[in-house]
Symmetry: C2
Subunit: 385 residues, 2 copies
């Protein structure tokens, strides 16, 4: 195998760590171009040294002095700030892993796409907000967009070699999150500590809360709508508590293809890194006899209205998904800070959508402006609430 070059946007996060774990196992096959982090200069410098990165970038410029110090005499270039992040994403790399959480990843992800090479996309918010703006850039630059999210990666695998015209439906599986069986009363009193304890996946705080509200699944529905344009009416969600089946594609002949695997992000990441080949991961083989059973049930949109809101935003199109996503990020931050009850997250999102309805974005600048304005609108609503 020839050596391939890689950049990781969001190297100190959970996806970054899993990606680097895989690279570490076949170190000689990869050249690490750029690694970026938000503000964790110490971890970033350590990783940059370990992997011999050419460039390390902190998004938070105030962390740049610490990064410079930690990289002194290493020969690794250090940079900081939003423009440096975009510059890092623009560096030529065979594959760029776009794993910055939330809308902060929007501009660097777009810069990576504009390289016209391969982008492994783990930042679902970027695709949700930028939507058509991003998919148009993918088409214009001939970029290969590989989905890292376990559900979308599953769908991508299940579509391989098939014509999307033959798809009858695509079903995203949802664990249902830690509050799957909670009553509305229990949900109203849910704490941040309870919400970030996901039953199956070890994830960051924001995505864990999204999993608890089912906004994660709703955002994934919007993401799937852009990645696999078969029509919203063909996109389904089923609750599958064991998270073994990661998603499914049903074809017109009645064949359903499903991808199954452990709850380990190294599996979909490996699928992206090696695509269209496969690479080893240290994950245990699937043992269905030991698991015994896989269960499925319909989602309950009364207790978890997020998937309904997301579907409506996707149907409305234009700016609605960007507004929904921005409002959700603000509401989740408020919940994590103890300023908003759990069940108010969806309410705040719905109210933000009701009071701020701009026209469809046509450029990245539009998306960023809508995102900022939606955040302000959400904050105003929450101060009033």
């Amino acid at each position: 195998m020839t050596c391939r070059s890689i950049s990781i946007l969001g190297a100190t996060g959970s996806i970054g760590a899993s990606t680097l774990d895989l690279i570490r196992r076949q170190r000689e096959q990869w050249r690490v171009v750029a690694l970026t982090a938000n503000g964790n200069a110490a971890d970033l410098a350590r990783l940059a040294r370990e992997f011999g990165a050419e460039l390390a970038v902190v998004a938070d410029e105030s962390a740049l002095p610490a990064l410079r110090e930690a990289l002194a005499d290493s020969g690794i270039e250090a940079a900081g700030g939003a423009d440096a992040l975009v510059a890092a994403a623009s560096l030529e790399a065979d594959i760029t892993v776009a794993a910055i959480v939330g809308c902060a990843g929007l501009a660097p992800t777009m810069a990576a796409i504009e390289q016209g090479r391969t982008v492994a996309l783990a930042n679902k918010e970027a695709l949700v907000s930028a939507g058509d703006v991003m998919t148009a850039a993918v088409a214009r630059h001939g970029t290969t967009l590989l989905p890292v999210d376990s559900e979308h990666n599953a769908i991508f695998q299940c579509l391989a070699g098939n014509d999307p015209a033959h798809v009858r439906s695509i079903t995203l599986t949802a664990s249902g999150g830690p509050f799957r069986d909670w009553s509305v009363q229990q949900l109203a009193a849910a704490t941040p500590a309870q919400a970030v304890k996901h039953p199956n996946w070890d994830m960051g705080a924001k995505i864990s809360v999204d999993s608890a509200t089912m906004f994660n699944k709703g955002l994934e529905l919007i993401e799937a709508h852009h990645l696999f344009p078969v029509g919203l009416d063909k996109l389904r969600i089923v609750v599958h508590p064991q998270s073994v089946v990661h998603s499914m594609v049903e074809y017109r002949d009645g064949s359903t293809l499903a991808q199954l695997g452990p709850s380990d992000m190294r599996v979909p990441i490996a699928s992206c890194l090696a695509w269209p080949q496969r690479m080893d991961t240290p994950c245990d083989p699937l043992d269905l006899a030991a698991l015994g059973e896989l269960t499925f049930r319909a989602p309950d949109e009364d207790r978890f209205p997020a998937t309904r809101l997301c579907r409506q935003a996707a149907e409305a199109g234009g700016a609605a998904p960007a507004v929904l996503n921005a409002a959700n990020e603000i509401a989740v931050a408020a919940f994590l800070a103890g300023h908003l009850p759990f069940t108010r997250i969806a309410v705040m999102v719905e109210e933000t959508l009701g009071c701020y309805a701009p026209g469809a974005p046509v450029s990245l600048g539009d998306v960023i402006a809508i995102d900022a304005e939606a955040r302000s609108a959400a904050r105003r609503l929450m101060e009033l609430a």
Copy 2:
């Protein structure tokens, strides 16, 4: 879509009926070349008239006068006997469905393969017995061999677009048959009527008994060994009573692809007829939430030794699978006729393998001779028993 030509060997059986049901739904897209049956002249003539077949053949020559009479003035050619069957299989057709049950299908299936076009193989015994002789013919004639068996069709779909070198394991699912939860004592007293009542599939008597003994799964293991040469050590069996997951392929990265669908042979047959495209079937969409749960358990080779015997025969290679298959056909016939207890089927097969061990076949003639000799050996053993 341009019109395609098709021949169906075994048109009056269960696979033949399902195939013709699909053809009936897109009648204008197909030209039916040849239809064959064993001895059911009336049904064959009716189908040949309905589908405007060019040729109708009964394997049993004594049924030819009845076929001739039923086809009088139809313009459809009638023929009978083993040679006519091979001649029918040799007629040029874009796709030939090889669905004759048991070793009677061996010569016609080989004739269809020698056309060098596409063969949809539903006759697992032919591949089990002829093994390397058949796969060598497939390679020599550049034939596309599409598996109709729901399990192998599932595996075929799960391998699409993937390099077999990346396969970690292939898992065949088994319903476990009607006696899945029976004790050894109950099994010893099982009647033919009980054995042919399959919980999930509506099938012929021979294959239903094979499902009850698990010989069906064992023969499928041998079949998979020839169709997907990843190595016997990578072939697994898991009991899955609901028969929703038809089989699975696990890759080196920890991704498992599975094909799911209804217990309706029209799904895998449609997959073969339309391959590499897809066609509509009248099957209901999969509703996992309504199904609720899928369960899995390890097979019990103490109560059901057939899969162990089949794996051993595949490992031994050469003539062993042909001997095993022939002995099983004789033992099943004896069981259905009330002359052999259910639990003696596997015993007779094992004993036949023990007393008749010819060299590896190198031609179809060898396979047919081994098959005949193994049947005689099995019959002798049963008369002694």
